[in-house]
Symmetry: C2
Subunit: 520 residues, 2 copies
Amino acid sequence: MSTETSLDRLKATLGPIHHLRDAAALLSWDQETYMPHGGGAIRAEQLATLQTLAHDQFVSPEIEALLASFLDLSTGTLHPEHRSALDEPSQALLRETWRDFSRAKKLPSTFVNELERECSLAQQVWVEARKTNDFQLFLPNLQRLVKLKRQEAEYLGYHDSPYNALLDLYEPGATVAQLRPLFATLRMELIRLLDHIRQSPVQPKAHLLSQAYDQTQQVDFGRLVLKHMGYDFQRGRLDLSAHPFTTSFHPTDVRVTTRVFETDLPSCLFSCIHEGGHGLYDQGLPTKHYGTPLAEPISLGIHESQSRLWENCVGRSRAFWRYFYPKLQEVFPAQLGEVPAEEFYLAINRVTPSFIRVEADELTYNLHIMVRFEIELDVIEGRLQVEDLPEVWNAKIQEYLGIVPPSDAEGVLQDVHWSLGAFGYFPTYTLGNLYAAMLFRQAQKDLPGLDQAIGQGNLLPLKGWLNDRVHRWGRQYTAAELLQRVTGQALTPAPFIQDLEQKFGNLYQFPTTSSTSHSR
Amino acid sequence: MSTETSLDRLKATLGPIHHLRDAAALLSWDQETYMPHGGGAIRAEQLATLQTLAHDQFVSPEIEALLASFLDLSTGTLHPEHRSALDEPSQALLRETWRDFSRAKKLPSTFVNELERECSLAQQVWVEARKTNDFQLFLPNLQRLVKLKRQEAEYLGYHDSPYNALLDLYEPGATVAQLRPLFATLRMELIRLLDHIRQSPVQPKAHLLSQAYDQTQQVDFGRLVLKHMGYDFQRGRLDLSAHPFTTSFHPTDVRVTTRVFETDLPSCLFSCIHEGGHGLYDQGLPTKHYGTPLAEPISLGIHESQSRLWENCVGRSRAFWRYFYPKLQEVFPAQLGEVPAEEFYLAINRVTPSFIRVEADELTYNLHIMVRFEIELDVIEGRLQVEDLPEVWNAKIQEYLGIVPPSDAEGVLQDVHWSLGAFGYFPTYTLGNLYAAMLFRQAQKDLPGLDQAIGQGNLLPLKGWLNDRVHRWGRQYTAAELLQRVTGQALTPAPFIQDLEQKFGNLYQFPTTSSTSHSR
């Protein structure tokens, strides 16, 4: 077979496997949005069948032979004759397919089946447990999942810590050894800023945001912002779910969800903007490469950089609200008609320790992540038993944030992730924040009129820039390569910290130490 | 392998195949309810992959070998040693699995893939064509589908007519030779009754039903009726779609849809009751046999008997409205508060030629079916070209009903079926009407207080009777066997005709010829 024919053959073989994964993703989306309660048990079976089939087809001898014709299966190194013959995208396609293949190959089909079934069931039990504030209900499921995830790490193999094997599933190349010092620096800086803020005389009027806001109007406003962001409703939709999320079956069908509470205006609003950022990434992946890694997101950290960039760098900026605040006042005249823009801006940027990660401010958000990182590291490394999680959780939240959750529903049960078997996922949120700060600075350099455009409600230049610099490349570059390519720098927490200091120094009126920070 | 082990093995192999079909059914449901418009092309690919995989796994050597260990693959006859060893359900399971297997075996995998993709695409084009009243838009898709369905008939093989091969997909054992005389008798009787009604001085006040009725309240009322019918919302849901339908992924997840128009009260109401009848059947199938024919409906005719029984024998009866009319008046006091029950009852039972099948009265409904039967027979037998369909449609509607559709949207484009490749499906509606009349008579015999219970809004005795006599058997009996078992009779149009004559003779005040008809 010629090089070209083999490559076409590989792509053609990957397509139907992706269809199975798409179908599984729809079954999961349905499970969290519309599935009747009674359908849960069979749904777990259906998902297990689909994912097992996708796995089995992916590790098939056919794909193995096709890959082997291009590269050394044990190292992933291209055979010499292909190094010059293949263009950069094709080389990346092979590199990343091999990466996925060699990982999948280590997992027995029966294990994939069991893990998928357990995840679907555990997610359903978690919904119930959170609703009824009953950790004990969820405990057996979580114990089984932890056992399976530790087993998975053993199958996959790792250096230093089994946690690295799981982390690598979400952020290829990231390690505990890299995260520990990064998080330590970040924590120190965040605590320093938090101390400034605690001593500040400025008191944002948070109660403005907890008046009664009609839920339908809230969702409609979220939809309006999504449209301005360039989220394409011909290729997407917005639904409600217990935990906001984004799912994609193809760049032409990318769905976001939000949740809405009458007395919590930021919840629905920032969930929409956040998930919209994710949605734009998925809608911006190249259709022509569908089914291959070139149409897949690089990593969860990069994915999260898109959501956090929109949520925080844009959605919590003065520029953004110059345009949108009058619109919001029109929708809620009784609640906001008399509230000055600056007061609203201060309220949505209030920094205060709180219980729920997804509702946390830009600053303390990362402390929530560190708590989770430390806990899941201990769980996966076997130092911490699952039954002790509530106690350890509460102790750590007190240590990091100085408050104690009043219930497990507002504590250890609040996040869906562990119920989905997603251990090693949380650190990508903080990585996303750091990436976002670096990327947004670069966008401001590359697009001189950006703040002004945002102030006029014109978010499309930014969307276009992200499409061009990030989305359209799929997995052609690694996260580190992309960052270097776009910003000329390696990952550093400095821009993120400087931006926080500049922003909150201004808002809370404390002296800033940094002179290089970039105004928003 | 022992007999029992082989049978367990067969069931275990069928399970995951059913999961694939469930997933495909969810993708189809989503396509008709929530899928964003742009996701249509990839959805067709995903469906084609799932159905092709399900097909390939079903005709696998493993299933072939398992079946061959029980029966003669060319005739389906059980090997002598199994005839006494296996109980009746197991024999039925093998008989029906063999039936499906030997049919599937005749279809090449590439054909299944192409047909599935074309159906998904054609369905989407049909939605657009109907909306814009543009038959030409739909024509190329329909032409391809007709070609594929004629090809399918050739693959499957048939006696007398290729149409028989397709009919058999929906109503096993039914033939053109059986339907022609049945429909001829029925037509003659229906025309006779219609003439009586045309000459009647009674004029139902149909305009009562086309006042403005709030759409949300209409859907809520539909939901109320569904709950009374015993439709389990823990194992189902009600959504909106262009064409009402029921879909099932498992007895624990059975979904119905309706449509709603502000100035057409019967449309949403009777769609809910109709689909609820289907839904009860699917929810009533035995969970323990999931994945096998023993947990599948017998035929579309029997399925339709359930929906029509609820819609007409119950939902258009005086007894039903004794309980529900006061409730409906409470919801719509301005529209119905002053309208006597009898006037309402007359209005919902008005017989009049109309354009839309699903909105047609009990009597003319079957004339709509005959038009479709004749047309699709001619198309599949090659006597009629697809491009001539609108003209032929209008001519036949005029011949049967004396009216001419003002547009193709209200004519040849009104039904989803052909866009789904469902040729041979329509006759099962009329068969369903005939089955329904026979079954409902039997229920009245078996449940002496039935009319009274219905009059008190207690629909559960009827639901329980249907669960017991029809639903729980799956495909253990053929349609003919079930009918014989439950009613002691073979299929006959007499009860249906007698019931219509009795009912409409009473309503339209014409003398009835039948003395055996049964009061409702």
